[in-house]
Amino acid sequence: MRLKVVLLGEGRVGKTSILFRYIRNEFQEKQQSTLQASYMDKKIKVGTTTAQLSVWDTAGQERFHALGPIYYRDADGALLVYDITDSESFTKVRKWVKELRKIVGGDINIVIAGNKIDLERNRQVEEKEVLEYAKSVGATHFYTSAKQNLGLEECFTDLATKMVQQNLTKLQGLAGGFQPKGGKSKLVVVDDTGEGKKSSGGGGCC
């Protein structure tokens, strides 16, 4: 199963660092600003299902938003990244959620990542606000640090689980009630309409 994940978020929140840390377990203190959207692949096991994640990295600057649909239009999931030390970057997350819901609809699974948790002392984004917001839009929230490799496995596993579940449900629908083997017991069923869904805020490190 091949699944496409797109990393979205304001410039310098750490999208590329998250990608490199998660896929290659590498971290560069001085990362070049991203312009060439590109992807890296990683195999991930969810239950008994093995999925091939294609993680797409994008440019963060506001004016590149117009190009967003190229990358997220056929994505199964989006990881919206903000920097906990930059409140403006969280405002951008709200913008992305609105845009994704408007253009792609409820089909896309969303996970929000508060990156740079290693800089907790400089935090500018209120935890309560973030968790409430994530809950209201039916997204899961994780704290991450690409630098210290915190929360990334959990974050991607959660997203992959949602995407695999969604795909299996679709397949089930196509097969007319066929029960696919495995990948079920550990899965969290996501209600994409947003209301009344359990938002974790946890799983990772918060």
């Binding site: 600057q61 117009a66 190009l67």
Partner: protein
């Protein structure tokens, strides 16, 4: 405003020399050639004359001395042959100013600044303007501003965006680990963000960095450093200027650094079309796996002027090609880069392509020479611009609801596979009723074409049937002919046998011994007569069949000609349909509402 001649002379000469580009065709001033001389040979940073000889410098100089406009085609030929201009570092920036006609852009930039709105003497020193904007002091003088430390950038808004990118531009190169070089990058981006017309866009940082990397910034002199900064600033504003204001450069970066990146669509279309023409198998291989090559390659190539993952030492080579060749240059470099990775890509699955395309480096003179050697010209690029325009008009027409039917209650989600939606909204709208009437017109055209083509197709088909039936008859006749030929041959053989038997008998029976022929000879004679009779008949039959075949062959040729004419007529019907379709769509263009 006072200016310092010692500080500004060389830069002044660089900019004034550019005026020759627009005016030299009629009457270049004597100062033009001398300023160019100063540009090429007397720059304080320039090495010895010998360094310029194996470069484009003599070409530029000669054309200026004999009062000709810049020999652009010769310069392009030189770069295609040598891979770069071969100019030494300090003169490269002067060359970019010269070839881009930066002086004219400087005047336009100036006239857009609030303090010059009411008209001014445009002979003002660019260095002064640069310093005034850098320090936000519109009335400062060069002397008062030149050694003033720049105000640190704000952490929010446009300056915040610049600030965030300063440490993220070629972060691993030694050059940008130096604070003064970072400061130069920051200064230029800040001023370009103010006066360039598009604010600050990520991507500019790479182009500016590339120019700084190939300008050999002095370590000691602040004055020279500021001069280089201001020179790069005005080269950048020229690159951003809309194409119609600077026709000498066919690529305007406002298309890639402006809101919504409006140029992405056309560049992707051109890249994809040329890419497929060049190597269809590669594209099918990658895009079959759901990876759209043009999106990635164009974002990198056009938004960063091919500077994104170039090796530091190759910056100047790539910049020479980008600045001189503009759009077609970037397209060729991108396609060459892709071609170089072809083997690796073809051998890997699509999951590896992202990684392969990330690998950087290797853009030396040979690379550029080979890239530019591919014969695709600016004409083809313009042709593709028109093609895309028609495709998008057609898409808009096909998306509109059919006239007479009620429009859908809920707005449909845009189809991101279409060129009209893939790269954000288009900047033009066509009134709904016009789209609907066009749709009707196209529908009518389709119907009438269908009618004409159906008649022609049916004629072609009956002609084919006729040809095939004649062909069958010919085959049957040919078989018959073969049979008759064989029969004739066998009769001739029989005749020869009888003849030899007769002569043999005649030798046995001595002549004149008997008055009558022996019975066996008589029998042979009779047999001979019968064989000859049959042979004659067979020959007549054979010739008749041969004649029949000839007639049928003429008939089939005629029918084939008729069929060919019908096919041509069918082609004409479709060609005419294509032309009329284009005309109908072209009419829409005049009714677009620009947003």
């Amino acid at each position: 405003m006072s200016t310092s001649p010692t500080l500004t002379s060389s830069y002044h000469s660089a900019l004034t020399s550019s005026t020759s580009q627009s005016s030299s065709s009629s009457s270049p001033t004597p100062s033009t050639s001398s300023s160019l001389l100063s540009l090429l040979f007397s720059h304080p940073l320039s090495p010895q004359i010998s360094v310029y000889l194996p470069s484009i410098a003599p070409l530029v100089l000669l054309s200026t001395l004999i009062s000709l406009p810049p020999p652009i085609s010769l310069i392009k030929h030189y770069i295609t042959t040598h891979g770069c201009t071969n100019l030494p570092p300090p003169s490269r920036l002067h060359y970019y100013s010269y070839i881009l006609n930066t002086r004219s852009s400087f005047i336009t930039t100036l006239s857009n600044l609030p303090q010059f709105k009411d008209g001014t003497d445009f002979n003002i020193d660019p260095l002064l303007i640069y310093l005034q904007i850098l320090h936000s002091q519109p009335s400062g003088t060069i002397e008062s501003l030149i050694n003033l430390p720049p105000t640190p950038l704000s952490e929010t808004g446009k300056q915040g965006e610049i600030l965030r990118d300063i440490t993220r531009t070629f972060p691993l190169t030694t050059f940008f680990k130096t604070q003064s070089n970072r400061q130069s990058l920051s200064n230029i981006l800040n001023v370009v963000g103010e006066i360039g017309g598009v604010g600050y866009c990520q991507g500019m940082n790479y182009v500016v960095a590339g120019m700084l990397l190939c300008s050999h910034l002095p370590t000691g002199s602040n004055e020279e450093r500021i001069q280089i900064e201001s020179q790069i600033t005005f080269i950048l504003t020229t690159l951003i200027q809309p194409h119609h204001l600077n026709p000498s450069f066919d690529l305007s970066f406002d298309q890639f650094w402006g809101t919504h990146i409006p140029g992405m669509r056309l560049a992707c279309y051109q890249f994809e079309t040329l890419g497929r023409e060049k190597d269809k198998r590669l594209w099918d291989h990658v895009e079959g796996g759901g990876f759209r090559l043009s999106d990635v390659m164009v974002a990198k190539g056009f938004i960063t002027g091919e500077m994104y993952d170039v090796e530091v030492g190759d910056c100047f080579v790539v910049l020479d090609a980008v600045v001189t060749f503009g759009r077609v240059g970037i397209l060729k470099l991108g396609l060459k880069r892709l071609g170089r990775k072809r083997g690796e890509i073809m051998e890997s699955g699509v999951e590896e392509v992202g990684k392969i395309l990330r690998e950087r480096g290797g853009e030396g003179v040979d690379f550029v020479r080979e890239a530019l050697g591919w014969e695709v010209g600016e004409g083809r690029c313009r042709e593709m611009e028109r093609e895309l325009e028609l495709i998008m008009l057609e898409e808009q027409v096909s998306e509109i609801d059919t006239p007479g039917k009620p429009p859908p209650q809920q707005p449909q989600r845009p189809n991101f596979d279409t060129w009209s939606h893939r790269y954000g909204p288009t900047n033009s709208l066509i009134p709904r009723n016009l789209l609907q009437s066009t749709k009707q017109n196209l529908h009518n055209l389709e119907k009438s074409t269908d009618h004409d083509s159906a008649i022609l197709r049916s004629k072609i088909s009956s002609s084919s049937v006729k040809i095939s039936s004649i062909h069958d008859s010919i085959i049957t006749l040919k078989l018959k002919l073969m049979h008759h030929v064989e029969k004739c041959d066998s009769l001739v053989l029989q005749k020869n046998t009888i003849k030899s038997q007769t002569s043999h008998l005649l030798t046995l029976h001595a002549p004149s011994q008997q008055s009558t022929l022996p019975s066996d000879l008589t029998a042979l004679k009779k047999k001979m007569e019968s064989v000859e009779k049959t042979l004659d008949k067979s020959i007549i039959d054979r010739d008749l069949i041969f004649g029949e075949i000839h007639v049928l062959e003429e008939e089939i040729e005629e029918e084939k000609e008729r069929k060919e004419m019908l096919c041509t007529a069918l082609e004409v019907v479709f060609e005419r349909k294509g032309e009329e379709r284009e005309m109908v769509l072209e009419k829409l263009k005049d009714n677009r509402l620009e947003m």
